[in-house]
Symmetry: C2
Subunit: 493 residues, 2 copies
């Protein structure tokens, strides 16, 4: 078997599955088509129709090309599949943006679509309010699909690959967790999770409408809230509405969406609140959120940024929730606040979301383990001979799991540094380069400096946009899924 | 036994040893006294004499106060002793600076003394060239003493405490290393190391004199080169001489001092070059140094910062060596170069120095292990069942050692973040705050932004200076030595 046919034997069956996913994905274009039919000019319908046809047709063609490639997929094929799915769907999703948004390059369109499908929410566009409704619907709906995909990925696919934060919940010894283990089959679990997701979504949609948004805006923001994506139909983001009600709806649903949907699933199945109330990760999640809201409120009040306590509290709660859950909405240019706050909000985005939510970053469960491990190291110095295992929810965490988490952090740190250095080489200033990497690698959205909440990513060069598109993909797929494809070992079978 | 007497039973014997160290340290004041006698005005002699008397007298008084506190010191007493030694000697070292430097606050004097004794080289003073010679001699000689202390600490004390990069060299299985193990007794090892250090120092002194410096400047820069401290007698640092010969001497001796002095000791004992030529850490050290000089030279040439290739090479070699070894000399305001270079140089300072040298940062041996561990994690994903141990110099690294290194990195990252956030709260800008922490925690010296090579730390507030003094101590004592004192466990016996 020569090199090319060996490669084809790896790619063929993966592409056959990709073809089916493309065909399923093509139906997503019917959503902006429907909104465009109702609210936009005639020629737009044609574009959405063409995009649908192109994607479905491409999938069909690929299916025909790979018709002889039947083979049981191995777990390791999953890496290639997941990366290809995100890369290819992003390209098809970018086509209508490229056609419909004036003066946009292919780099911009691809960046925007990647930002959507990874639920990052960094935008390369401006003048959002002047775009056709269907374009904004498409951007937001892509985030919604991305959110569904991420949930499927984290709950069902990554554990098969031995990756992802959810892994950490695997108890080392049999215990009470065993009984409450979620339905093991992917399809059933996914169906249950998605039903909950749709239930929350409906409530969120109605709440935004109640708070005074138009149906279109309510739909758009429901999509980008539930997916923690953060795209808005206005350059000023949620600030455009300047409404306490809208902000309250966002706060509530961002907080809910930042928790693993598996927990809600378990609550429904066991009909007790235990799975949420007793969960170490969720407890830390709320402790950090409340603590941060208090801290930021105190700073805003003390430094007299806001006129009174209640305005400070509202502003603080909204932005802490938005950034910590990696949604990335803004209601004001918080980069103008005391510099500590902007950096702190970005820092929260790096770890606060729970594993199994649609949020980005390293996830709270890893952070809990890291803090416990650091504390353990200090104790070990004083008592070198004391066995002092790290526990999570009363269960001992296996040493191998800890090493994996620490290894993940290493690669996460190296990726942050490496990408920042590459951006610095292109001449960006330090704050912009570093914050752009943090904001995309953690799928947060807005950064600081020239990519802060009052700016967008549209002024960046093509190279910079491609680099950050890669960062979004890397972060969303929890780094290792992507990086493993760059090792010799993956391709030698 | 009540709380206070329990505390006294911990402190008493430690203070008794501290008293002896203070008395020994007091003789260091005779060095600036001698230089001042020769070169400065009369009244200065009195000050150095008083400082000597004060320190010796304080030591004597403390010795008398603790005369009944005899007890065998436990390894854990070492943490307290080491921290107290650095804190207390810094205070006594700061007195003459406070008296002799015009318009200086106690915070400035303490910061400067801490920067000296930790061989950091961040200065809070300006107008260095106008200071009495004996003051500049004192600043540099403190770095020299600091360097000797650090070597003793890293080679002899920290391993007793189960800490420090040298630990990593402990082979898990008996092997060829065993034969070449250095003399185990602290005193003998220290004597051997210091003899080598003095030998290099003499060569360095004569080389600087040959390159055209005055005897005083040659002595000052010998002190701050050999200790990788980086203090200069001029605000413009080595740039003041604008001499290729001076820079060459600095390059050679910084490169030599960045290697573990234990290696030279082994070379002398075995009379072969093996201990240096076969050492994984030293190989990585030179690979990174040469690669970085090439990279920076290429950038300086490509972006036409320097007029020709040879000027670029000279500038690149000097600054890469200076920052990577954490010396921190500058020959020009490299912060004005393309922004990538400044950040990259600071990054090099975080890890390039070898364990057992007088350099700061996490040390190259840890970096080698981190890179190997990250690579191993990626391989493990593809081949979950393959046992793939991390090795160092052909020896398998124990899992516990790896966990310790990863734990160290966690605490190092947390310290960097925590200190940066505290500086941001005081209102510093992001680049200044972050780079000030990196420059002090890694004992490098100059940062970027408002604490860059063309600036100094003198404009900072007292609080900021104290915080950064703490960062220097933390970094120099490899974090854990200090942080362990903040745990409950340490004080419960
Ligand atoms: K987001
Ligand atoms: K230094």
């Amino acid at each position: 078997m020569n090199g090319l046919s060996a490669l084809w034997s790896i790619f063929g069956p993966v592409l056959a599955l990709l073809a089916r996913i493309m065909m399923a994905f093509s139906f997503a274009f019917l959503v902006p088509l429907a909104w465009g039919w109702a609210l936009d000019l005639d020629y737009l319908r044609a574009i959405w129709g063409v995009a649908f046809g192109l994607t479905f047709g491409s999938g069909l063609l690929l299916l025909w090309l790979t018709r002889n490639q039947y083979r049981e997929l191995l777990p390791r094929d999953g890496f290639l599949l997941v990366v290809l799915v995100w890369l290819v769907l992003t390209a098809y999703a970018a086509f209508p943006l490229y056609w419909l948004v004036p003066d946009i390059s292919w780099s911009h369109a691809y960046f925007e679509a990647m930002s959507a499908l990874t639920a990052t929410g960094a935008t390369a566009l401006s003048g959002l309010g002047d775009l056709p409704v269907s374009v904004n619907v498409w951007r937001a709906f892509l985030q919604y699909i991305g959110g569904l995909g991420i949930m499927l990925l984290v709950v069902a696919v990554l554990p098969l690959l031995g990756l992802g934060g959810m892994q950490l919940y695997k108890a080392e010894t049999p215990g009470p967790m065993k009984d409450t283990k979620f339905t093991p089959r992917i399809a059933e679990t996914a169906r249950g999770l998605w039903l909950i997701y749709f239930g929350f979504s409906l409530a969120c949609l109605l709440a935004y409408r109640w708070a005074g948004m138009s149906w279109a805006d309510a739909f758009i923001h429901m999509c980008s809230t539930m997916s923690l994506g953060g795209f808005s139909s206005q350059d000023a983001s949620i600030g455009y509405w300047d409404s306490a009600a809208v902000e309250l709806v966002a706060i509530v649903f961002m907080a809910l969406a930042g928790i693993s949907f598996l927990r809600y699933f378990l609550v429904l199945r066991t009909l007790t609140l235990g799975p949420i109330a007793n969960d170490r990760e969720i407890r830390s999640y709320f402790v950090v959120l409340f603590g941060s809201v208090a801290l930021v409120t105190a700073l805003l009040t003390a430094q007299q940024v806001e006129t009174d306590f209640w305005t400070a509290l509202r502003s603080s709660a909204f932005h802490v929730l938005s950034l910590a859950t990696t949604t990335g909405y803004s209601a004001t240019d918080y980069a103008q606040w005391p510099v500590f706050i902007g950096v702190y909000l970005l820092f929260l985005g790096c770890f606060v979301s729970c594993a199994g939510s649609t949020g980005g970053g390293i996830k709270m469960v890893r952070m809990v383990l890291l803090v416990k491990q650091a504390r353990r190291e200090l104790v070990r110095i004083v008592h070198p001979r004391v066995v002092n295992p790290v526990t999570l929810g009363g269960q001992r965490v296996a040493a191998a799991t800890l090493t994996t988490v620490l290894g993940f952090m290493l690669i996460y740190g190296a990726a942050t540094l490496g990408l920042t250095f590459m951006l610095l080489l292109t001449g960006l200033d330090i704050v912009t380069a570093f914050s752009a990497v943090v904001a995309t690698l953690n799928n947060i959205g807005p950064g600081l400096g020239q990519v802060g909440p009052a700016h967008n990513f549209g002024w960046l060069s093509s190279f910079q946009l491609w680099l950050l598109s890669f960062a979004m993909l890397l972060g969303r797929l929890e780094l290792l899924t992507v990086l493993v494809l760059f090792t010799r070992h993956y391709w030698r079978r």
